[in-house]
């Protein structure tokens, strides 16, 4: 009897195209499920945190896949009706800010400090919260501008009026995302690291 031992490293498993598709599908499904579940809460969504995490844990390309797919599906299959093409385009672009934030932080001291298991989680929590706030602000400025793009007589007017009229929604979005990034994101990063699903140097992109 011959026994063949096949050794497959975690890294090679994570680098398989099928695994990448699976990761995008799982994160997209999670994002959509939480979106629909939280329909009653205006502008409060865990989706942005999940998109950020996909990019932070698995790289830029997978993050982009999750962001575009989630926004495209949620834009078309929405309880309030499908978004118009301009809004859809801008929210898809805006969601990429969370991918840029996640991919940008990945590989920095933030990731390695989490892995080190140091007692400085609270400081990293502040970093994640502020990065979440920054990305959400960029998203809100862009999408509030887009919402009035075809309804005002100048781009400047669309930017200013859009962001004043949209301020209450932006405040809710930014405050909730700052909290989600502070509490949900660190827990998921630590969990992923402990399960061996992630290290700052593992790059699927």
């Amino acid at each position: 009897m011959t026994i063949t031992t096949v050794t497959t490293s975690r890294a090679s498993v994570l680098n398989r195209p099928s695994t990448k598709v699976l990761i995008v599908a799982v994160f997209t499904a999670l994002s959509l499920a939480t979106d629909y579940a939280m329909t009653g809460f205006q502008n409060i969504k865990v989706m942005d945190t999940l998109v950020f995490l996909a990019a932070f844990l698995f790289g830029f390309r997978l993050g982009i896949g999750v962001a575009l797919l989630t926004r495209f599906i949620y834009g078309l299959v929405n309880p309030l009706g499908p978004a118009d093409p301009i809004t859809l385009l801008f929210v898809m672009i805006g969601e990429c800010f969370f991918v840029i934030a996640g991919a940008g932080l990945r590989g920095t001291f933030v990731g390695s400090t989490f892995l080190r298991g140091s007692r400085e989680y609270e400081r990293l929590t502040i970093v994640l919260s502020l990065v979440g706030l920054l990305a959400t602000f960029a998203f809100d400025v862009l999408t509030n501008f887009a919402s009035l793009l075809l309804k005002t007589s100048s781009l400047y007017q669309a930017l200013v009026v859009g962001n004043i009229v949209g301020a209450p929604f932006a405040v809710a979005h930014e405050a909730s995302n700052a909290l989600f990034f502070a509490f949900v994101a660190p827990a998921m990063i630590v969990s992923a690291a402990r399960l061996g699903l992630w290290s700052p140097r593992s790059d699927l992109a």
Binding site: P85, T87, S147, L150, I164, V165
Partner: protein
């Protein structure tokens, strides 16, 4: 001596805190300005005065009614007026949005793709426009003819919606 994350990355943390402070200041100012604009839509000279507003309720089944009110306190918003002249069902969202989502008027409720859309007559172009803000944010300094139109819409894009008066002119920019 052990240096913490904060000490090792002073510049990074400084920039991050600075940008966050700018964002909070900008968003706080926008929110304050928005709240102020709601509270001061009626300026001092008009305080205590009354205005006339025409409201069209179009039920979408070829039934509609015009309601002309001439004694509306000028500090009311359109939600206040609607609540005064009809039987409204609405969901209230507290701060920061502080707004009502109107789900039913006089017993006609939102159902599937059917919902109550909000319109106003743009005086400049004398045409109907789907408002970009909710009834709570509409004061009677800009619009004096408004409408609720119960219609089915398969898109959030208001440029595809029908105006509340069949065949009337419609604009997307006022």
């Amino acid at each position: 001596m052990k240096v913490g994350v904060l000490g090792e990355h002073k510049a990074f943390f400084s920039i991050l805190f600075l940008v966050a402070a700018v964002i909070i200041a900008a968003e706080g100012s926008a929110y304050y300005y928005y709240q102020q604009s709601l509270g001061t839509a009626c300026l001092n000279p008009c305080k205590g005065s009354v205005v006339s507003v025409e409201t069209l309720i179009n039920y979408g089944n070829r039934t509609s009614q015009w309601i002309n009110k001439t004694n509306i306190p000028s500090n009311w918003n359109f939600y206040d007026l609607t609540n005064n002249i009809t039987k409204v069902q609405a969901t209230y969202y507290g701060p920061p949005t502080s707004e009502h989502l109107v789900t039913g008027i006089n017993g006609v409720h939102s159902n599937g793709q059917y919902f109550w859309s909000l319109w106003a007559v743009c005086q400049k172009s004398n045409a109907w426009i789907a408002t970009s803000v909710g009834a709570d944010a509409i004061h009677f300094t800009t619009y004096h003819t408004l409408a609720w139109f119960y219609q089915a819409a398969n898109s959030q894009d208001s440029s595809n919606w029908n105006p509340p008066v069949s065949g009337a002119a419609k604009v997307t920019v006022c």
